[in-house]
């Protein structure tokens, strides 16, 4: 069974800690080259094709800013 996933980041609440990136198994999520209004670079789905919706990123996020979706393919 294979899954295709997608994540949505609440970029205004993201603090750019990078823990999600360190735990993503598919190189999907990365820090943007921009900052939010608090001055934090925020996480974003940089490689959407890679996402398998495992939710690792959301599980480790301290600020609960990531929402994860997936479909069976």
């Amino acid at each position: 069974m294979a899954f295709k996933g997608a994540v949505v980041v609440d970029t205004e609440k993201c603090k750019g800690c990078g823990v999600c990136i360190a735990n993503c198994p598919t190189d999907t999520i990365a820090l943007a080259n921009k900052v939010n209004s608090k001055g934090y670079p925020y996480a974003m789905m940089a490689n959407p094709d890679n996402c398998i919706g495992c939710a690792n990123c959301a599980i480790v996020c301290p600020d609960s800013v990531i929402t994860v979706y997936k479909v069976k393919i």
Binding site: T11, G53, I59, P62, D63, V71
Partner: protein
């Protein structure tokens, strides 16, 4: 503001994981990458899954988590430094049908609160104690904690903690495990998905224990304080794995 891609997958029916309803909308004041945020989240998830939001009372500490009451949407009591187990004792004895837990840091629980935690555990109060151990005092600016490792540099051990000056790191979890009144004593962490899942299971078990009048459930979460350890969040988690875990080994010390 969200980064949404024009993406067929992002639909409510495809939702896998989202923010718990038991967490408030208030942005947490914790530093980026702080373990507090992760633990608050899994506590909220357990409360949501057990459907006990209307019957849970939390006792928050003095420390970085003094503002826990802003983030988890339940009734909260703000305790004086170290005294949370005393508040929880009275609350649970007066309201035996409620779920009562304390959330404490290493200064709160293992320094000023040593008497309160030992005695609450010794009496076997039917509460959950969640102990966040990051081996340093966060809120007050990075001073030594009882659990600071030997050699660790802090604001009050600028040359590294020395046993002859400051004594030894205190393994309070091992102490409470020896008390008859504790039924479940475990050490967990929350820096990767596997450990977060395990920690959440432990918290769930602890909450369920309190209804069976088995005694106190004590969960230590070995945590990182990247700000006061002066490392980036991911690096701090790595340092924790390499230095804290050997001294504070993860796993169940007791499970009756």
């Amino acid at each position: 503001m969200q980064t949404t891609m024009d993406n067929d997958i992002i639909k409510p029916e495809n939702l896998v994981y989202g923010k718990s309803k038991v967490l408030t909308d208030t942005v947490m004041h914790y530093c980026p990458g702080c373990t507090h945020g992760v633990v608050h989240k899994i506590i909220a998830e357990v409360i949501e899954e057990m459907d006990i939001q209307d019957r849970t009372i939390g006792v928050c500490p003095v420390g970085c988590a003094v503002f826990a009451y802003k983030y988890i949407d339940i009734d909260w009591q703000q305790a004086a430094h170290g005294r949370a187990p005393a508040l929880a004792t009275a609350t649970k004895r007066l309201y035996p049908d409620k779920y009562v837990f304390t959330y404490q840091g290493d200064g709160d629980l293992a320094s000023i609160g040593t008497a309160e935690i030992i005695h609450a555990c010794n009496r076997g109060e039917n509460i959950v104690v969640i102990f966040i151990n990051n081996a340093i005092y966060g809120m007050t600016g990075g001073q030594m904690a009882p659990t600071t490792l030997l050699g660790m540099k802090t604001a009050t051990t600028p040359y590294g903690r020395k046993a002859e000056l400051n004594g030894y790191p205190l393994k309070i979890t091992e102490l409470v495990a020896q008390l008859e009144g504790t039924c479940y004593v475990t050490r967990q962490s929350a820096q990767n998905p596997a450990s977060v899942r395990k920690a959440k299971k432990a918290i769930r078990k602890a909450f369920e224990n309190t209804t069976q009048k088995k005694g106190t459930s004590f969960i230590e979460i070995v945590a990182a304080c990247n700000s006061n350890w002066k490392m980036a969040p991911v690096k701090a988690n790595k340092w924790m794995e390499e230095n804290m875990f050997p001294f504070y080994p993860l796993g169940d010390l007791k499970d009756r």
